[in-house]
Symmetry: C2
Subunit: 321 residues, 2 copies
């Protein structure tokens, strides 16, 4: 989720809408600074002002297609922003980090389910995936150079859904890149129909299969990582898949969304999209073993919660309520 | 060669010694700015002031061992410095680049001689090699995103030697990292003896074999790349090995250096160094085919020129002459 895009941000000095929603839902105040990770001095000021036990680093650009059009910007924001953060952490002796990586570092799956020991970095076709892979490599070297660092690298599969209240959800800029928000926009009438890229894959119905994960499960995975980090004496960089371990096809997602929203989702089968693979889903057992975490929510709940959010906020956070 | 380290730099406003030497040798004035590539604004100022047809990007930290100790600094300087340069180039519509990469991107050789299609980026053991590999990946994406870019990536094997005048050579900070300057320092009496890491490799005499390349051949390789770039309509990112294609063992280098310097080089055989491989040398045919360049100078000339420089400047550029 990107909290800092212009649509979300309130006026000068106001908190972005998603942060206010989090405060309402939790009844807690969130200390929030809108800074650019490329701005080393601002980052230093925050670390001077507070004492952190751990950092969760979510920030980054995340649109695969866009990363092929403006790769330098992706590398600058993701890689150099991360390096700045790590340098400032190091200077302030904060050496525990949870990092948002991505299943895209695995490239085209060489075997299924994908375990954490699956090769990474081979034939990555876009700057987004490569930027995550590079950051993982930098973290590995950092941990090798200084045994005080403890880094948990979370490789997200396909996060979808919304908070069950319907007040907090994904609000992409412009046309959504990913299937679930796209389906939701078609269901609510923002977009007339959906292209399904290929129905000739070797899958249950020929359409692409992905490991969708409810965003609330993902959030709980981060809490588990944080707890692990605070109570364990481990060190080094440890990569962990976050997924359900189950794959669903594009048509299964569309049908489930249609069922829970009671809307017809118009779609058209078109040709395969270059760079897409047939199936991708993870072996989720290491997360259970190491973090004591596993995904609990079903595809139905992912669709229900997405639909609740999309119906309440058809134009995202800028919807007049 | 690092022109900007403190030993080399003259007083405020003075040019670093190597630049003055170049001016003496060529009879031409060199416009020189000492700026940090991490300083985006200074970089922009230079591009605003001049009109460039092409950039040769040599800047970077280059000590393999040090990169394992301070990896973040290596990634910041090498990767973020490069990204800044590419962004400023793009903004000024300068889209032709010769980039100094390294044979270390190949990792442990999977076959010999190493061609440009040898896998890169696998099991790289240090931040230096990885930083070069990452920059190559970024350049690939940049060229894919914009067909106006033409980038020649030069993968250096083991540059050694000095200008034949003896007035321009390698002046490492502190104890040298690489074999040839180390041998030269032993020959001249700055260091008592040399460790040879392993004599049980599967090579001509058991010691490690590398593809040494005279620095003047390397320089001429850059001129050829520049000429190619200015007269060709090619585009994209093209990687080219710069080496002789011949390997010499550590003992062969020591013996040759001993012969030309008429000094005894004391050495001791010690255990293998982790991360070292037995042999590494390149297939140099693509450079000949594509650039019309090939290395001309022999191991003897490499040793003679190194020795001339080292005898004239036993303490490097800070030697009183």
């Amino acid at each position: 989720m990107e909290f800092l895009n212009k649509n979300d941000a309130g006026g000068e000095g106001e908190k972005p809408v998603p942060i206010s929603q989090v405060e309402k839902l939790t009844g807690k105040q969130v200390t929030f600074y809108a800074i650019d990770l490329l701005d080393y001095n601002s980052l230093t000021e925050i670390f001077d002002k507070h004492e952190f036990c751990c950092v969760i680093h979510f920030a980054g650009l995340k649109a695969v297609g866009e990363s092929c059009i403006i790769p330098l910007t992706y590398y600058q924001v993701n890689v150099c922003g991360s390096i700045n953060l790590f340098l400032v952490m190091k200077e302030h002796n904060v050496k525990r980090l949870v990092f948002s990586s991505s299943s895209t570092v695995y490239g085209e799956p060489q075997f299924l389910p994908i375990t954490e020991s699956h090769p990474v970095g081979q034939n990555l076709l876009n700057g987004y995936a490569k930027s995550k892979y590079y950051i993982e490599g930098i973290l590995q070297d950092l941990c090798n150079s200084d045994k005080e660092w403890f880094v948990i690298i979370l490789r997200y599969f396909n996060p979808v859904g919304a908070h069950s209240s319907g007040t907090l959800g994904e609000d992409p800029n412009g046309i959504p890149n990913n299937l679930m928000p796209y389906v939701a926009h078609v269901a609510v009438g923002n977009i007339p129909n959906l292209n399904v890229f290929g129905n000739d894959y070797n899958t249950i119905d020929g359409t692409g299969v992905r490991d969708y994960l409810h965003i609330m499960d993902l959030a709980e995975g981060h809490v588990s990582a944080l707890e692990k980090m605070l109570k364990s004496n481990d060190s080094g960089a440890i990569a962990i898949n976050l997924g359900t371990g189950n794959g669903y096809s594009v048509l299964q997602v569309i049908n489930m969304f249609s069922e829970v929203s009671k809307r017809k989702i118009k779609y058209e089968i078109v040709g395969r999209r270059s760079g897409d693979c047939g199936s991708s889903y993870c072996d989720a057992s290491f997360a259970k073993e190491y973090l004591g975490w596993e995904a609990k929510r079903t595809l139905k709940e992912m669709c229900e919660d997405t639909w609740r959010w999309q119906s309440l906020y058809p134009q995202g956070f800028s919807t007049k309520t």
